[in-house]
């Protein structure tokens, strides 16, 4: 076994966990606070990627700076979608909620297809995408490292917000008991609106990162949505704290299998489905 390969696999897995955590925490927020499984989460992510691309092409804005524009834009889009659609199905059966968010995802995908077409887009002219620092035979990519630092900072910031700020405490209260929170005077609908907008904004930031790492296409969100669902399941539905550790677990497992097994990259999806399966079986046995 080549130790350099093993070390590279660990480093790549740890760095990949940052983006996974960022995408997943938004989904966990929607599930945990609002109680809705948002199947359009990957499409928010995709819209974020395309907005970063468009800001670069139209105004020459580097993705590093477009983060500051795309996050509020996605927050606004999320707020509009919540106000115009989601809030009407909060008390509807779960299947209706899922169908609604699934439909929103299809609409967003086709809007992207109309506006940007189906060709993979490229944010060209950014040299830092290919930079890697060599540390003892292991390469640490600048973009994955930055993405890891930004993602973990944001996720930790979200934890802090939930624990220490009035809106964060309101979100936790609403998540625990919607009726009770309303009875003590919290505006539940406003809390949901903020939580959904924040979830979309976090997806938007992830989208900007993916616009740098690969080519935005209308279907770019799907793979990350699947990862996010896996991580949210491993963490426990709505468990925002668990997302960080689950992201590390899923990303490192994938990277090790991809590196150590011949043709292992093709087993990445099998790895996270196996993890979901194992976690669900383990939980059900524990409950029994």
């Amino acid at each position: 076994m080549d130790l350099n390969l093993l070390a590279q696999a660990l480093v790549s897995g740890i760095l990949a966990a940052g983006l996974y955590a960022l995408v997943s925490v938004g989904l966990a927020l929607a599930i945990g606070v609002i109680g809705i499984v948002n199947f359009a989460h990957g499409e928010f992510f995709m819209i974020g990627a395309f907005l970063a691309y468009q800001l670069f092409v139209s105004f020459g804005i580097d993705p590093v700076w477009s983060l500051l524009l795309v996050a509020p834009a996605l927050g606004l889009i999320g707020a509009l979608i919540y106000t115009s659609t989601i809030r009407f199905v909060l008390k509807a059966p779960e299947l209706n909620q899922m169908l609604l968010t699934f439909g929103i995802g299809i609409i967003l995908t086709n809007m992207a297809l109309l506006i940007w077409g189906g060709d993979p887009r490229t944010i060209a002219g950014i040299a830092y995408r290919s930079i890697g620092y060599q540390v003892g035979g292991v390469s640490i990519g600048l973009v994955p490292l930055a993405s890891f630092v930004i993602s973990f900072t944001l996720v930790l910031g979200l934890y802090w917000m939930l624990a220490r700020t009035p809106i964060g405490r309101a979100m936790r209260a609403v998540a625990q008991n919607r009726t009770g929170a309303a009875l003590v005077g919290l505006e539940v609908n406003r809390v949901y609106l903020v939580a959904f907008a924040l979830s979309a904004a976090l997806a938007g930031i992830g989208g900007v990162m993916i616009a740098v790492i690969q080519s935005p296409t209308p279907g770019v969100g799907l793979a990350f949505t699947l990862k996010a669902f896996a991580i949210v399941v491993v963490a426990g539905l709505g468990n925002i704290r668990g997302v960080l550790f689950a992201s590390l677990f899923v990303a490192i497992s994938e990277s090790l299998v991809a590196t150590l097994v011949p043709n292992g990259d093709t087993l990445r999806n099998a790895v996270f489905f196996a993890i979901i399966f194992a976690v669900l079986v383990w939980r059900s046995r524990r409950v029994a």
Partner: protein, 400 residues
Amino acid sequence: MLHIARRLIVLVAALALGVTTAQGVTIGVLSPLTGGSAGTGLAQRAGFELALQEINAAGGVLGEPLRIIVEDTQANPAVGLAAFEKLMTEDDVEFIAGGFSSGVTLALIESFRTFQPIVMWIGGAVSGIGIDGFDGIEELIGEEEWFFHVHPWDYHNVEAATAFVADTGVQTVTLLHEDSAFGGPGSAGAQALLEDAGLTVPLREAFTSTLLGGTGDFRAAIAKAAATNADMLYWIGYDSDVVPLTSQIRELNYRPQHIFGAPPGWPSEFAAAPEAQCVTGLIGFMPNLPTPEAQAFTRAYVDLHGAEPDNYMAALAYANLWAYADAINAAGTTDQAAVIAELQTGTFRSPIGDWSFQPSIIAKHQGFTTDLWLVFQYQNGVREIVWPLEKATAPLVSCR
């Protein structure tokens, strides 16, 4: 009553003779207009639109304007099957054009056989020849008279790529390939041909394309390739894999002499990206191909669509529709046997040059073969043709 009977007799006679109605000839087109392969499908549609405009400006087909009905397959076998059956049962077309994705093509073969229209197909390269336990398109189609395959088969692609690799003088080649009916058989064929040519292939490793559910993190596969220290990295994947793959090769400090890719298309803005420098690729058509046909096509394409064709499927679609128009006009009828005879014997125009159908290993009608392929290299933001030498616009440079 007599009047109605007379009209019925005329209609039946017209149908029996294969004469078109006043609406003219309609050709059904299957292309992926949405989904991950939409870039290729939209390029096909752009090529069809240009050919349609020119054909109708030149008098149409059988004296009437030609019509096309474009149906979206989404590069999804189930959607493609429904789209084909809609063309056959609702639109009553007799001719099918377009096509993309070996998976969709494989799913359609039985339905093609049921309806048996003339199918002139510009996608689906997986022949199945040389792969044990897998039946490819050419093997399943066999010697059907009504099937005309325009795009080269996978063994033609591999022959061209292998000839280029051998011409570069490299000794070792690592193969990375996406893991579907496109990349798997293609890379197996490439490995066999490269080894037959005396080259060493220390690693053939699969990855999941971003088009098919991958997240674009190819570092594990690239790290394994880097460990072989091969002279060339030869990868087979899709256009959405280009940016992550080439940037991660640099990020992981892998410096092969040549990075050679064979996706169906390349992202149009990739030329300006720093990681594009020195990357080489296999392609079926380039706007700067120094031939009169290519230049005329590129000018007309720019006039109609406002940009140069950056996906060779536009050129194949253009050739596809013109071949139908010329064959039906030469036959003077839409009668299937007559049109097939014209397609079998005719020589057709294309942006790549004149072409015709010849038998391939199994199939009776194969259009383009190894000669279609060019190799380009990104050099200072421009795609230069570097192979074959007689068509080259610049010499090949090493990445080291």
